[in-house]
Amino acid sequence: MINSMDQAEVLLEIKDLTTRFYTEEGVVYAVNGVSYTLKEGEILGVVGESGCGKSVHALSIMGLIPSPPGKIDKGEVLFDGRDLLKFNQSELRDIRGSQVAMVFQDPMTSLNPVYTVGFQITEVLSIHKGMNDKEARGVAGELLDKVGIPGAHDRLDDYPHQFSGGMRQRAMIAMALAGDPKLLIADEPTTALDVTIQAQIIDLVKRLQENLGMAVMWITHDLGVVAELAQNVNVMYAGYIVERGSVRDIFKATRHPYTLGLIGSLPRLDEAPGTELVAIPGLPPDLVDLPKGCPFVPRCMYAVEQCLEEMPPLEQTDGKDHTVACWRWEHVVGEVTADVR
């Protein structure tokens, strides 16, 4: 898999993406110079706490930042070589849904309550494929079937309130797939669902990804999901990517204290029952008032003087394509949750 990955074309290249919100309370530094590439057919996990800029960075890619107060101050979002940030509204509309599609966190509110599920899927088909109602209805039924809704064709006329949470999320995925996107951005799609449904949705996306070959960006705060699904991981903190690498590198050769903390806070099957989970001390920083140096300093046990002075750049570590933004990464030793404790 990894080998075939190397030859794949770059689908999305983000350079120095900087998104800020100019509010009355001050400037919120939501995304601070994020750069990375995503290849065709790749599954990328984007991990971090609430408010670390994961969702804002995804919305920036789609051009969906509410403006005002939001503004993309800098950067490029090259999708298939074209900079989406230079697109006008109508060009963006053509891209949304047909090239990049998105699934949101809360399936309870992400479907329009006044229309049937079938109508909402056919709407996407008519926007992007110019299908007439009859054709679109057939395709919508197939899509619902593909995402595993039993009796799909009979449920097209159901309203969202007649679907359970898991079914609604499946319906949302069907809508997202209707335009055959090359990239599916899933913004915490399983957070609002219970664990069994969560596992089903993850399996579904995995299967769809294999069948359709699209790239998937899976945004989550759940490292467990990432380990199961993704090939590469971006760990985000306070609007920065602090560590990026393959799933293996992130879990087995962790080089950032924050990632280490995230892994340490996960329950493990192989530890003694009753062992307390380790929480990362402190709170994420206020994005209005970001410190000059590394934003993780107040919560970091490895911090030294230099960390207060200057934000470290993303540096290559000893692992291939494994980068980290930490002055002291060489001192951070991965896979050793015990040491941190």
Partner: protein, 312 residues
């Protein structure tokens, strides 16, 4: 919704016995509007409101059949000098006015006017008010500011005063009165629609629609506005009541319908001198106005409860 959830959890296969055909049928498809209608019909006051409005509309439609005389046959208004100011009797259940016309017939024909006034004025107000409000709420910023400040200016006048000014400017008459009442109600509907649109715009489904390629027009008119209708429907029902009152008020002041139109407000005004000698000439038009306004108010309250069961 609860039935649906329960249905998900107990599939029949997991039960050790069969529930039979009765229970294995698919849960009946229920659209949200059906639910609302059901809640509305369960509310006795709302049903009373619907009944009142229904009666008045029937009377309005069948006025030529129900009334014993047409007050303005062939555009000439008839006078029956020998029958004037008769107290209610079997021949004239509501008595006759100073020109000898049958009050009941006048009121039947007046129903046509009042219903038309209410529906037209509110329809006009919604058409412009809701459009302006939706644009203001969706666009925000300067556009919002300009539209809503104009609305604020209109709201700063007492509604009847503003209606008077408008009628004075465009001339008295039934149609102009309807127009004036409609214009005066625009800001109310603009405000209601604006706040509903702002509230709906926060919802994830709006972002989801945008993320799938829907443009601003589609998002606003096809996704947000249909979801913002509930407060508008309630306001429309209550607004019709106000519009009827305002139009009657204009009629009373001589700026609305002109004689010989059998408009209820105008009847009150014309007959007010006879209130001590022939009270039926004033009481019945007044009761008719009250009756119809009450109907729309009851319906409006019922609709509010039905559309928003959590808010009482």
């Amino acid at each position: 919704m609860d039935e649906q959830k329960a249905g998900d959890q107990f599939s029949e296969a997991s039960l050790p016995f069969s529930l039979g055909d009765e229970h294995s049928r698919k849960v009946e498809v229920r659209s949200p509007s059906r639910d609302i209608l059901r809640r509305l019909v369960r509310n006795k006051l709302a049903v009373a409101g619907i009944a009142i409005i229904g009666i008045v509309i029937l009377v309005a439609v069948f006025a030529p059949v129900l009334a014993s005389q047409d007050p303005n046959e062939n555009g000439v208004f008839k006078v029956f000098p020998r029958e004037n100011k008769q107290a209610p009797s079997l021949d004239h259940p509501m008595g006759t006015d100073d020109l000898g016309r049958d009050m009941l017939s006048l009121i039947f024909y007046g129903a046509r006017i009042s219903v038309r006034v209410g529906v037209f004025a509110v329809g006009f107000a919604i058409l412009f008010g809701a459009t302006l409000g939706a644009i203001a709420g969706y666009a925000g910023g300067t556009v919002d500011n300009i539209i809503m400040r104009i609305m604020d200016i209109m709201l700063a006048f007492p509604s009847i005063l503003l209606a008077l000014v408008i009628v004075a400017a465009i001339g008295p008459g039934l149609f102009n009165a309807m127009l004036a009442v409609g214009i005066v109600s625009i800001p109310t509907f603009a405000r209601i629609t604006r706040s509903a649109v702002i509230k709906e715009n926060e919802n994830v489904y709006v972002m989801a629609a945008r993320s799938l390629g829907a443009g601003s027009n589609r998002v606003l008119w096809k996704h947000i506005v249909p979801n913002s209708l509930s407060p508008l429907i309630v306001a429309a029902s209550l607004g019709i009541a106000t519009a009827i009152l305002d139009a009657a008020g204009l009629g009373f002041l001589g700026l609305g319908a002109q004689p010989p139109t059998p408009e209820w407000g105008l009847m009150l005004s014309r007959n007010k001198h006879h209130i001590f000698t022939s009270p039926w000439m004033v009481i019945f038009p007044g009761v008719a106005i009250m009756f119809l306004v009450l109907g729309f108010n009851l319906l409006g309250d019922g609709l509010r409860d039905a559309l928003d069961p959590w808010l009482k």
